[in-house]
Amino acid sequence: MADLAPTASRHVLAASTSAAAGESRWRVVARTAFPFLVVALLWEFTAYLGIFPRKLFPPLEDVAATFVRLTASGILPHHVLDTLIRLAAGFALAAVAGVAIGLAMGRSRRAEDIFLPLVSIGAPIPGLAYTPLFLLWFGLGNKTAVLLVGFVSAFPIIFNTWTGVKAVKEIWVRSAQAMGADSRRLFHHVILPGALPYVLTGLRLGLAQAWRILVGVEMLAAVPWGLGWMIFGAREFLNTDVMLAGVAVIGVIGLALEKLVFQRLEQFTVVRWGMMT
């Protein structure tokens, strides 16, 4: 249930941007860019001061040059692509299994009694702690990474779906039943739209979780390509610029997943149906 709070903060966030819509666009851009400029300047200053060796604390233009070089040579896109494929596979696994289990738990008392203890035992253990175990069982490589990502990110999805089905208003269910809706139509027209805001929150949390875990798993599971591996491998050669470029790409992808994928999805479903404003 504590997982539900990000929704609130996200909404305040959205509200603050919409409140700023009254200002001119340039002012907003400038205001947003200003802190980054300050931090970048501080970074450059520290880098050129020479307190730290340049190899360890490269100035930003080095990082940018590395980024361009890696992108042009096709190495970085390859890493990104592999990571994204792994993410998609793992998350798809988690979404299908998580939503199915969550719905079952919400609808049937028996399923709830069966799954709840298992889920509540598995959930509080940090996902990465399972990594060595999965490595032992499934070996190094892709399979472990995908399975682990799926396993770990299924938990928030299960919890939120379950809560969502439980939170569908009784009166909707009962009035639909009074009107003679069979269980299929009840599910399709009442339960599913009613639980969808929670399910989407769960998917969003699950994706964030998957992204966090994936980076760690790639470092540990010795996959041949992948952003996490790129960063971890670069450490051996003291390539701090490669590492920072990788971290930046990871951040951008994380932001894009959040902003583009899920906000769109929400617009198309729950907001349009009037389940959420």
Partner: protein, 499 residues
């Protein structure tokens, strides 16, 4: 007689609830046993090497051994040290900064873009960088924990301060509270639910991060390191044992420590309505009882609207278990809707009526809100929405309010299945569920009329919903039956209540 009947029914329901709980516990225990048995059978079958899949007694023995010779405790101690140190740092930085962000526009403008750019970067991505900068060891783990825990703390503190009800601020200001009193007596308690949530999330993130950091930045001690190290020697029993320890510590912290913090602060201050959770548990109340209850509530309380929805939940609540059945215990009062709508918040992702509908329900509060806002009262969004409600209030005057209130009551009646309002199908209403459910529920008073007047038609259409005549007839009959019931019920209420 009715009292006797009600107590008997209360007793039976509580007995039923107890037996249902017992069944759940029994099934849960059974599940765990079955899973353990299946695991044990697989482990003993020899299909997998025993080094990879140790039997449960072996895992237990290893755990016991490690606990006895103190190594496990030492590992756990190191891990806890890193987590708590990092978490304390994150709280020390994140909490004041978040509060400042909530109170001061310039700080918010500076920190928010940075936070939202850094937040999507998983903390583990920084591990290699930090190892290069700070070397292997405690520093890296603590910094990673700090990074992981900082953002939940920061953002929750910020949105908590922003979500403090502006009415409270204004009320405190009007009573002569100075900045300091305002901060300690209003803002901190008001933001506390968010802050506690932030602390919880921060701990969860930190707990995940520390395990990863210990695996990657291999220092010699720590639960994450044990697991990773055990992999080298194929000690699956050690791994499972430390996994169990990690799970137990995480669980204990989440439930006991943060649970008690929450009880000691927010719940005692009354910042969290425990009643809110009452709605979520499944209840088996027949439609008949629901309709009767709804009618009774409508006939006795004039100014309710959401109460209708809750009429079915008149039962002792498990949390606030004082045995008294209170109508409307499950959902917040319209005034609370106003508060929350103005704060721009939502409760747990469920759509609440916001803006006009909520505001119109409580014109008194809006008029109070007309007083000039003090300095730095924060919530732009709330003020905007409140402004809209106030304009509505002034533009159209009392008459309009009265009409809207009437409409509101009617609408509630519609939602509770007690009436039908022709506007309802046309008016976009954020709370209205899509599809047939509510339109189906919309047949109460009018069901009879529609049933007689339009029975020639094969199918009655309301809005987008098609309702079959058979269902319509059923609804009408049910309605007629329970209207009479409600009358008698109301009589009973009147006889019981004159205290």
């Amino acid at each position: 007689m009715s009292t006797v009947a009600s107590t008997t029914s209360a007793r039976t329901t509580s007995a039923q609830a107890a037996s249902a709980r017992a069944t759940s516990a029994y099934r849960a225990g059974l599940t765990l046993l079955v899973v353990a048995a299946v695991y044990e059978a697989t482990a003993r079958s020899g299909a997998f090497p025993p080094a990879l899949l140790p039997t449960l007694p072996k895992v237990a023995a290893t755990l016991w051994e490690l606990l006895l010779d103190g190594t496990m405790l030492e590992h756990a101690g190191y891990t806890m040290y890193r987590v708590l140190f990092g978490l304390a740092l994150a709280v020390a930085v994140g909490l004041p900064l978040g509060i400042l962000m909530g109170r001061m526009r310039s700080v918010e403008n500076f920190c928010l873009p940075l936070a939202s750019a850094l937040m999507p970067i998983p903390s583990l991505a920084w591990v290699p960088v930090f190892i290069l900068w700070f070397g292997l060891g405690n520093t890296v783990a603590i910094l990673i924990v700090f990074y992981a825990a900082l953002f939940p703390m920061l953002l929750n503190a910020w949105s908590g301060v922003r979500a403090v009800n502006p009415l409270w601020l204004r009320a405190a200001g009007a009573m002569g509270a100075d900045e300091r009193a305002l901060f300690w007596k209003v803002i901190i308690p008001g933001a506390s639910p968010f802050i506690i949530t932030g602390l919880r999330q921060a701990f969860l993130r930190a707990w995940i991060a520390v395990v990863g950091a210990e695996m990657l930045a291999a220092s010699d001690w720590g639960l994450g390191w044990v697991i990773f190290d055990a992999k080298e020697f194929l000690n699956a029993d050690v791994m499972l044992a430390s996994l169990a320890v990690i799970g137990v510590i995480g669980f204990v912290f989440e439930r006991l420590v943060f649970g008690s913090i929450e009880r000691a602060t927010v719940m005692r201050w009354g910042m969290v309505r425990t009643a809110k959770t009452c709605m979520t548990k499944e209840r088996r109340v027949g439609t008949a009882r629901l309709l009767r209850a709804a009618l009774a509530v409508r006939d006795t309380q004039e100014d309710t609207d959401e109460t209708f929805l809750v009429a079915g939940s008149r039962r002792p609540c498990r949390r606030c278990d004082d045995g008294t059945a209170r109508p409307g215990a499950g959902l917040p009062h319209p005034a609370d809707h106003l508060d929350r709508a103005m704060a721009g918040g939502r409760s747990g992702g469920r759509a609440l009526p916001r803006g006009r509908a909520a505001a119109v329900g409580t014109p008194g509060q809006i008029r109070r809100g007309r007083e000039p806002a003090g300095r730095g009262l924060g919530d732009r969004d709330g003020r905007r929405r409140q402004g809209r409600a106030r304009r509505l209030h002034h533009r159209d005057g009392r008459q309009r309010i009265a009409r809207d209130q009437r409409h509101h009551v009617q609408e509630a009646a519609v939602r509770s299945g007690q009436g039908f309002h022709p506007d309802h199908a046309r008016r976009p209403d954020p709370v209205r569920p899509r599809g047939d459910a509510v339109l189906a529920g919309a047949f109460g008073d009018r069901a009879r009329g529609l049933c007689q007047g339009q029975s020639r038609q094969a199918v009655v259409r309301i809005g987008r919903a098609r309702i079959a005549p058979s269902s319509l007839r059923r609804a009408a009959q049910e309605h007629d039956r329970h209207r009479d019931d409600a009358r008698s019920l109301q009589g009973q209420r009147a006889r019981r209540s004159p205290t």
